[in-house]
Amino acid sequence: MRKIFWIFLIAISLATLSYAQDQPEQLPPSDKKTTENKQPQKKNAKQGASYINFRFGYSGGSIDGFSYNVPTYGIGIESEWGNNHLGLSGHEIEWRKEQFNSTGIGYLLSFQFARILPGPSKHFIAKASGGLEWGVPSEMHDKTSWIYAQNGELQSYTHLYVHRNAWSPFGAHENAILQPLAELRFKSPPVPIELGIRLQYMGFELENYNLVNNTHTHESQYKLVPSFFIRLQIKM
């Protein structure tokens, strides 16, 4: 089942990439009236490009007093269309892995649309992107703190965890997340490296158990979680 699922996803991403590369240059209707107008338009059309990206990232900080350190790596396919469509200049699909010591969890798949931002020169390119990420997250944001009495008796504890809000084809099917994300990336051609920051909008649940009073409280919250990354790009 898992193999079929991943083969399906890879096929979709390759098909998407192929579609983007095969799209003919579309000219406005007015340009089709005269051949004189066609030539300048073709001359202005930019060549699209596709890349394989290798991501190395890190997210660290504190949420409700719980510190977290989440390294991540990933691989993806990115397509720059050459010309903007609906204000967008490209798209990408990426597979990302969190928590290297676990084989069962920490696999995420994202799809983003991007726009190249106007920069000061052709040697400095800034790109903004946004999209959705789906997958089974790691447990590196899941934390529990414990309070014990002097005699070793457990008094209370607090449990923080990422809200799993999506279905997955794996395991018990309730272990996935679907979350929006945005990225800002910078690169300086021809160096094939991007530096960037990512913001993920993540849901968290906070459970508190007091064994002395035998009470339980629960709180939901959403937070923007930043991470930093480097991407190595190989042009296809």
């Binding site: 350190n69 447990e139 414990w146 965890y161 018990a172 158990y209």
Partner: protein
């Protein structure tokens, strides 16, 4: 110069990520444990009158080293066969969880069975677990009980306890400890009325032996039963040389991911040579005064 800086940045990033990845294995919020490993001082013991001598020595030794606060007795039977172990545990100052045997759950008058068993073991024991891997552990040649029937029984048990033994805490049957069978079963239990029982008197019991069982059951518990406390009633490895590393690497994940208050090691003794569970043992040959000790036992007692 420029490419050198970029290369250095990449190497530094990789080094940082690797070090953070390793540090991520342990939560800074974990209790200190015993001898600096995140041990949970709870152990399953098999009730067997022949091993009293070895158990007495192990209880005392482990307790003196802060490695034992409570035990889970594998069966509290209506014939009183576990009474000597219970008395020993009480005299040793240990907390006790008694397992109401799977066989007794088949009794049509389960309330009468409870009364009969409680006449022997209550109030020395005030925490009872009703069933253990009920839908998976019974040999297929014997009568089976599905989770739907179990939940009907559990509702009756809960009602009987609340009415007649209000100070008794009920621990649900342990779900299966490998794969995601246990997670699906726990979800079914929630759908079949577990959520109607007060979290103040009910604790979720589960066995966790594998990473996949942990990940899946944690997801189900969060989504459906977040207000309930969790005790992992069995965990461990049958490779003696891996016992210490198992506790170091897996216990913190159980505690962080599942917020399990207790993790009971399986087992203090599960039989000597010839038993397939021998590798789980913390001690061997408890029938004699010369018990043998597993690597984890030695670590816990500073040997």
């Amino acid at each position: 110069m420029r490419s050198g800086s970029i290369g250095l940045s990449i190497i530094l990033t990789l080094v940082l990520m690797t070090s953070y990845s390793c540090s991520g294995l342990q939560s800074p919020t974990e209790p200190t444990g015993v001898n600096n490993i995140p041990w949970s001082p709870y152990i399953l013991v098999h009730a067997n009158g022949e091993v009293m001598m070895g158990y007495r020595e192990a209880f005392s030794d482990l307790k003196n080293h802060g490695a034992l606060r409570g035990i889970r007795i594998n069966s509290v039977d209506r014939n009183g066969g576990s009474k000597p172990i219970v008395d020993l545990a009480v005299s040793s100052g240990l907390e006790i969880v008694g397992i109401f045997d799977n066989d007794d759950l088949f009794d049509d008058n389960v309330e009468a069975s409870i009364d009969q068993i409680f006449r022997i073991y209550y109030p020395e024991i005030t925490v009872f677990q009703f069933g253990n891997e009920l839908t998976t552990i019974i040999p297929k040649t014997q009568p089976q009980m599905n989770i739907e029937t179990y939940m009907l029984k559990l509702k009756r048990i809960y009602k009987h306890l609340r009415t007649n033994y209000p100070d008794v805490v009920l621990v649900t049957q342990s779900t299966f400890g490998s794969g995601f069978y246990g997670a699906n079963e726990l979800k079914r239990m929630a759908e079949l009325g577990l959520k109607d029982m007060s979290p103040q008197f009910v604790i979720l019991g589960m066995n966790i032996y594998t990473e996949s069982a942990l990940d899946e059951i944690a997801a189900i518990r969060r989504n459906h039963l977040g207000e309930y406390r969790v005790w992992v009633m069995e965990s461990g490895t049958n490779v003696p040389d891996n016992q210490v590393s198992y506790v170091v690497n897996f216990y913190p994940r159980i505690r962080s991911e599942l917020a399990a208050e207790r993790i009971y090691w399986y087992a203090l003794w599960a039989g000597d040579e010839g038993s397939q569970d021998t590798g789980f043992n913390l001690i061997g040959h408890p029938q004699t005064s010369q018990i043998t000790m597993s690597p984890l036992y030695k670590y816990l007692t500073g040997r």
